[in-house]
Amino acid sequence: MASIASRRLAKELAEIKSEGCPVGINLVKADDFATWWFTIEVMGESLYESEVHTLQFRFDAQYPISSPAVQFVVTGGREAPVHPHVYSNGHICASILGNEWSPVLSVIAVCVTLQSMLASCKKKERPVDNDRYVKNAPENPKRTQFEYHDDTV
């Protein structure tokens, strides 16, 4: 199992290094096959102009059958973007990271999806239940059962 995960991640990493990331996305570190960091920035006109956020990916041995644990980094002066689907602890409520994850998706595909999620945002605000969620949230966002109520943002 582990071999599938590491082979797949090695391949994804090689592709990132040879072909580069899409515009606005940069690889920060990928020293092992457990945790990767990217910076993500929304290009062009948007509510998030000139903001740079850091995304953390964590992989388990079942990747890509099971989805990676993805969240914004909120330590060391970094902050999660203010967005109706992003909690202040960096957790993201996006169906693609949960029940709509598909093994054919990749790390870059997730980055691009999240980038466009930010780009299409109309109003900067935290989720309504932010305080309640952050207070009780598990460390790993994959342990949260999100309810995906809004496909538009």
């Binding site: 599938i4 082979r7 890509p64 059958i65 598909s102 093994p103 054919v104």
Partner: protein, 608 residues
């Protein structure tokens, strides 16, 4: 009330005969030539009581046969193959009527929704499909030759798995009808994760947004092939996962079928069919206690879980009469381990909660969960503010209390207003002041309801505890009797243990009844009916306590014959009392005789 749960005697016999036979087999083994157990004969011959509902226990394969019949039915109507028919049925939760109706409205939409075929507007990647109107393209295993995987072709044409990027030459792609190819190992891992981790029986194509569902044959092939590969783990894991898959299908079917319920006991895979309790509305008049037919702990499929009739009697040295039970399990172990898998068909309670109906039982359990320990603590550690009734715990300081909520100042000892205490700090030597009496009055009122609850709760809990103790006691008694059997050469003691076992079983059963009568009495509205109910309860309780006491009396070789007679008589009496309680309560539900002091689902609101 209606014929829903009145079955002919014939059917009833079918349901219960097996049990009786077993009992008698055991008995006759135990005392060939002795008729001592005849004492029990009139009562052990189980005839269905008014409060027993007819039901049938089904094994997993029996349920699978039911499923196959449904599939065959649909297959015949629609003219599709069995795999398509079962995917359609699963999609609509085995609701045949709804499926037929919807299928007639639009067959192709149904097929797409069920994950059988691809949506029409999308250009089909498959090259082999016949695109006639309504033609059903069955998802089948296809190799790369038949349908080129669209996403991952290397320039040289070799297949690269888009999931694991394996590009070993000669690797073949597996795909459903959609043509989204992946290697066998990835399919195996994916299907395994779906079934094992998510408990999901519908495995959709791995490609993003593709809704095609893998048919059973595909899943079987993938799993069995993957367990041959070293990459997927131990031998037989694929086969075990496929077994789990089949179990998931059965569970889904059972969950979708009103008159079926899975046995809730851990590891048990039996299902009970009880058409008489299929609707929620009947649950106000009957308590559908059923048993899946298995006894004891199901640890895989081992012989130890069932009580087999004793093997051929072994002869004891000295040429004495044969003694039957020489196999490893003692009667007390049998009692503890061989408990019937009884559960309620109508609610999640996994034991017999007769005589009280599901709605009331659920109310009571909820109250106990929320209240019992807390209520005890509150009762012993707190008082209520005489003015606003807030519950207050005194955790230090003097007796001059000030209620945080209403600012009422009072004395903790006499509960009277502090103003009447003048300057008598730290002491309360005044008794008859009016204020103090009033305060204590109102306090005692609020305590009364707590006391009332605890009255019922303590008796409820006590019966549960006593039932456990009775089992412990029996194992001690049994040991002692077996010792005596060795030392005193009394062969009939063997039979003696049987009468003790019977009695303990009866005590256990009756204590369960008694336990739930307290839950019922707590919610019964005051009146003649409740008085009658409590009379029956009292008679049963008295009888059970008498029998319990008898069981605890010292056992000596010389008093065994009299003890046996007493215990046997008492057991029969207890059985009768238990039947009276159960029957009368059950009749009461049918006649709508009971009224409650709270509002219960399905019953009239309580009268004020």
């Amino acid at each position: 009330m209606s014929s829903d749960y009145e079955f002919s005697d014939e059917e009833v016999d079918n349901v219960f005969d097996d049990d009786d036979m077993d009992m008698q087999d055991q008995d006759s083994d135990a005392d060939s030539g002795m008729d001592i157990l005849d004492d029990f004969k009139p009562t052990t011959t189980t005839t269905r009581k008014a409060y027993d509902l007819p039901y049938e226990s089904l094994t997993q394969s029996a349920v699978e046969a039911l499923m196959a019949a449904d599939v065959e039915h649909i297959r015949g109507i629609f003219g599709v193959d069995a795999s398509t028919a079962s995917l359609l049925l699963r999609h609509l939760n085995w609701n045949k009527e709804k499926l037929i109706e919807k299928y007639m409205d639009g067959a192709s939409a149904m097929l797409v929704a069920a994950g059988v075929t691809m949506p029409e507007p999308e250009p089909a990647p498959s090259t082999t499909s016949t695109r006639g109107a309504g033609a059903i393209r069955r998802p089948t295993r296809k190799t790369k030759q038949a349908s080129p995987a669209p996403t991952s072709k290397k320039d040289d044409g070799a297949f690269v798995c888009p999931i694991c990027f394996d590009d070993t030459p000669g690797l073949t792609a597996l795909a459903l009808d959609c043509g989204h190819g992946a290697c066998g190992a990835c399919w195996g891992a994916y299907v395994r994760a779906k079934i094992r981790d998510e408990g999901e029986h519908a495995c959709r194509c791995m490609a993003e947004g593709c809704a095609l569902v893998a048919p059973d044959v595909f899943i079987k092939d993938v799993l069995l092939a993957s367990s041959e590969d070293d990459a997927m783990g131990e031998d037989g894991e694929g086969a075990a996962t496929y077994v789990r898959f089949q179990e998931l299908l059965v569970r889904h079917f059972v969950a979708c079928t009103n008159h079926l319920k899975f046995c809730p006991h851990p590891g048990c895979t039996n299902t009970v069919s009880c058409p008489g309790a299929a609707g929620r509305s009947v649950l106000t008049t009957i308590v559908p206690t059923v048993s899946c037919g298995v006894r004891g702990v199901v640890s895989s499929i081992s012989t130890s879980s069932t009580i087999a009739p004793s093997p051929a009697p072994a002869t004891v040295a000295g040429g004495k009469k044969p003694i039957s039970r020489t196999n490893s399990m003692s009667a007390s172990q049998e009692l503890a381990r061989g408990k019937e898998h009884k559960f309620c068909f109508g609610c999640p309670i996994d034991s017999d909660h007769r005589p009280v109906v599901c709605g009331v039982a659920a109310l009571w359990l909820k109250k106990c969960r929320d209240d019992s320990e807390t209520a005890n603590w509150i009762k012993s550690n707190t008082k209520e503010c005489a003015k606003c009734m807030s519950t207050i715990e005194k955790n230090g300081g003097c007796n001059h209390m000030t209620c945080k909520k209403c600012k009422h100042e009072f004395c903790w000892v006499c509960m009277g207003p502090w103003s009447e205490h003048g300057t008598a700090w730290y002491s309360c030597n005044r008794y008859d002041e009016k204020g103090g009496i009033d305060a204590r009055d109102s306090q005692s009122k609020s305590r009364a309801s707590l006391e009332r609850y605890l009255h019922y709760y303590n008796r409820w809990a006590n019966h549960e505890q006593s039932a456990k103790l009775a089992l412990d006691l029996f194992s001690k008694t049994e040991k002692k009797m077996e010792e005596m059997q060795v030392t005193s050469a009394l062969t009939w003691i063997e039979v003696g243990v049987q009468f003790m076992k019977k009695a303990v079983e009866e005590v256990d059963k009756c204590r369960m009844t008694l336990k739930w009568t307290y839950a019922m009495a707590y919610y019964l509205a005051k009146g003649n009916q409740k008085d009658l109910f409590e009379d029956n309860q009292r008679d049963l309780e008295k009888a059970v306590e008498d029998l319990s006491e008898l069981l605890e009396s010292p056992i000596e070789p010389e008093n065994i014959p009299t003890l046996r007679q007493k215990v046997t008589d008492k057991t029969v009496y207890v059985q009768k009392r238990n039947t009276i309680v159960l029957e009368d309560t059950a009749d009461g539900f049918l006649e709508d005789r009971w009224s409650w002091n709270v509002s219960v689902d399905g019953f009239d609101a309580p009268e004020e």
